[in-house]
Symmetry: C2
């Protein structure tokens, strides 16, 4: 088989696959098509660039096109794959000039990622209204926030950047009040970022607590942290409309009264809308490929789709959930990198599982850190066939007498019948987030709560009390489970 | 059975057992004998008290005698159990006045702890020479370090303290140069503590690297950290003698020359000797009880000794090792608390396993943090029947572009034949220590290195790079294991 390994999308999953394949299969070509000009950037770093913690956009670069070249990968930017013919094993490609051609493949990886969803809100054509869709948006937001005479064009020091858009935004008067629509983790990170840039920030979230899938205990701690730093948090508050002429003027939102009919208006001069993410799967339309949760491409344990020799990975694909054993869609960075790397090895002849996902996620809001893993919300647990029991404890992060000890909230969720740990969350200002890895590992090992309670976790006064907060939570939840027996 | 549950030793294991038993078995008496006056203190906090991070000795108090009383526990201080008659089921008790009596038991828990070993060095009768044996020693060291006119007697604000000893030490001129004999974790913590008090500190360690059972990679990072803060570290340097008249005058040590005959002398005015710990088991002499590693009392999964109705827990007892499945002796705080609690439940009629130990330990040296778990050193792995393969990687603690990212060393050790993870260590200045819990959890779940490599660990720029340092290490070690196949 001499047809190349064709990869669609030059980001985490695509380039991980191409790089691994290149190292393992020296005699076969690998071609990567990327519709845009950006490759391999750390999208998760965008809020920190906007905040100013990251000085230059180029700091977010993982791999340059030259470095990809040097790896022996045939990278073709500005080439959009618009269709797949699985019978003939070829893809249809278009260029920005309107040219089109076909490319045969031996194996195909669809790593087209996802895009920010703006829900019912259309930010296009409105100055000062953005969705944190890509690096060009990050550069534009950063430029828009700056005072026109204070903007440093070297901030966006990457050749791929949409320079015209940056300059146009830099020229506008600096905003003072910002609305963020959507209190997921990007919304929370953006609240910190915009606040750090001196803006008066309002964060709107439809549900009752921020970070919906982190659970209520975390949502409340994070809301406290944001409020404590001057962010105005509007939970349980659906945004109804963006009010704009050419430039954003206000946000209209439900006022929270029982009748639900009145609406309030908040004048703003910056709006960032991010209510979710959607998988990019249009190129597979008409192929009959099976789709799963959220419309993502369904894949097996090796990242194979239902089409022969076609793989999918990253934000456009499902993966198996460590707790439910079912395909799930959780667009996160490690998932993409890991699946890409495994598929690269598999296509090169070394079948490698892409690995389960546990939905492990961590986020910070100023000094407050939070993490979640598995099935945290009751609804998710019930939907997966579990009967969830939960306990939330607050315990010290270090020995009480050691400076820096801080209250740490741990929530553990177990299945009532089996006592199996199915999810957990954590929040606290003192190194709380990274502790979620302990729960992620316990989940992947299918541990029961009694097993978690007996884990030999580290103890030393500067790092943990004798009974780590996770052990305290396990002890309490185990007590609850025993009482019910 | 109306005879009481008798507990010997009122520290972590003993009081955890008595408290748990009291809550579960309301109709049966529990009597706790403690030979001294101190109960339930956080011995692990002693270096931080001496350093001055902990302001008052009373901050290290977990439970006061009154609180123990209030729990309905019959606590008898100043009562030393000197013998056990397992046939008659009674213990022989002595008071400081020389009185003696016998106490029948229904069940007996030996929770007599351990004591600091000074090896060949006798510090008794030498002013300025100490072993960090107990709280009285900590109070004395603290007082000895202070300038006589600057010592605050409220530092040792606990009635149990040996006030006369404190005052005598406070009256001596303040030391300027300190030698610490033994570079285990207490030695490292004391080096930081004494340095923090302004002393010129020399740390002597017989083996080639500090923290022997943390492995070489950690030992070297910790040595660098200590050296960087002005501590003089003498590794591979056996101390030969303490030179003293009434007061410590110098340390004599091997000079490191090949002939091994010459010795050097370092004038010091403070010496802290701590070369290990030994289990206190004398009260069981003559009973025929089976002993295990290090002379600790051998126990089964419920903490039972080989004598009927006699349990042992804490620093005087073995427990099962999570990796080897064999009894092991690792005197650590959580082990004691957990075993005590389980035995309290078991004796009360609810059989509860004491849990495995993984040898999880964490320590800091100024800003450097370190952790270890399982079988880290090749010799230990081989002794347990494994064929160890190891890799050490250095990876970032956060995304490279996020401020605060710091090099983190992870060592993973696997069994060559099975690929099973058998041990690991970690060192780095940015929240490295607590990450050892991930490895402790993986060890207890008997994970293989490929399974560790596929763990869904947390990623967000402020907390971890996409590939967590643990995942990087697993990836590299897995590569090594595959190459050898």
């Amino acid at each position: 088989m001499s047809d190349p390994f064709v990869v669609v999308g030059a980001d985490a999953a695509g380039l991980s696959a191409a790089s691994k394949f290149r190292r393992e299969a020296l005699d076969r070509e690998v071609v990567v098509f990327e519709k845009g000009r950006w490759i391999s950037y750390a999208y998760c770093g965008m809020p920190y660039f906007i905040e100013g913690r990251v000085e230059r956009m180029s700091n977010l670069l993982s791999l340059s096109p030259t470095e990809v070249d040097d790896r022996g990968i045939d990278l073709r930017r500005g080439r959009e794959v618009v269709g797949v013919d699985p019978d003939e094993k070829r893809v249809a490609v278009e260029t920005p000039d309107g040219d089109a051609f076909e490319q045969p493949y031996g194996d195909l990886l669809v790593a087209t990622g996802g895009r920010a969803s703006t829900g019912p809100f259309d930010v296009r054509g409105i100055d000062g209204a953005f969705t944190l869709h890509d690096m060009d948006a990050a550069a534009a937001i950063d430029a828009y926030i700056a005072e026109p005479d204070a903007y440093d064009p070297d901030r966006a020091d990457v050749s791929a950047v949409d320079r015209e858009r940056v300059e146009r935004n830099a020229a506008m008067s600096a905003p003072e009040t910002a609305a963020i629509v959507g209190g997921g983790y990007v919304g929370v990170e953006m609240a910190e970022a915009l606040s750090g840039r001196g803006l008066d920030v309002h964060l709107f979230h439809r549900s009752g607590h921020l970070l919906s899938d982190f659970g209520e205990a975390v949502g409340e701690r994070v809301e406290e942290a944001l409020t404590g730093e001057g962010v105005t948090v509007h939970t349980g508050t659906p945004v109804e409309a963006l009010v704009a002429d050419d430039r954003i003027e206000a946000i209209r939102f439900a006022d929270g009264d029982a009748d639900g009919e009145d609406a309030e208006t908040l004048p703003v001069d910056l709006a960032v809308v991010g209510v979710g993410i959607r998988p990019n799967t249009e190129l597979l339309d008409g192929t009959g490929v099976e789709l799963g949760e959220g419309g993502a491409v369904l894949t097996d344990e090796h990242g194979r789709t239902s089409l022969p020799d076609v793989y999918a990975a990253g934000d456009c694909a499902t993966a198996f959930h460590a707790v439910t054993g079912e395909p799930a869609w959780m667009p996160l960075g490690l998932t993409a990198n890991r699946a890409g790397r495994a598929i690269g090895a598999t296509v090169a002849g070394d079948p490698s599982p892409v690995g389960d996902i546990a939905g492990t996620a961590v986020v910070k809001a100023f000094e407050m850190e939070a993490g979640r893993v598995g099935l945290v919300e009751d609804a998710a647990a019930r939907a997966a066939g579990f009967d969830p029991v939960r306990e939330t404890v607050t315990a010290g992060s270090r020995s009480g007498y050691y400076p820096g000890a801080a209250p740490t909230d741990v929530t553990l969720v177990a299945d009532r019948d089996t006592g199996r740990l199915i999810g957990g969350s954590i929040a606290g200002p003192d190194r709380a987030a990274i502790r979620i890895d302990t729960l992620a590992t316990a989940l992947e090992a299918d541990m029961t709560v009694p097993e978690v309670e007996r884990l030999d976790l580290a103890y030393a006064p500067p790092f943990s009390p004798v009974w780590d907060p996770i052990l305290v939570a396990a002890k309490v939840l185990n007590g609850t489970l025993e009482e019910e027996e």
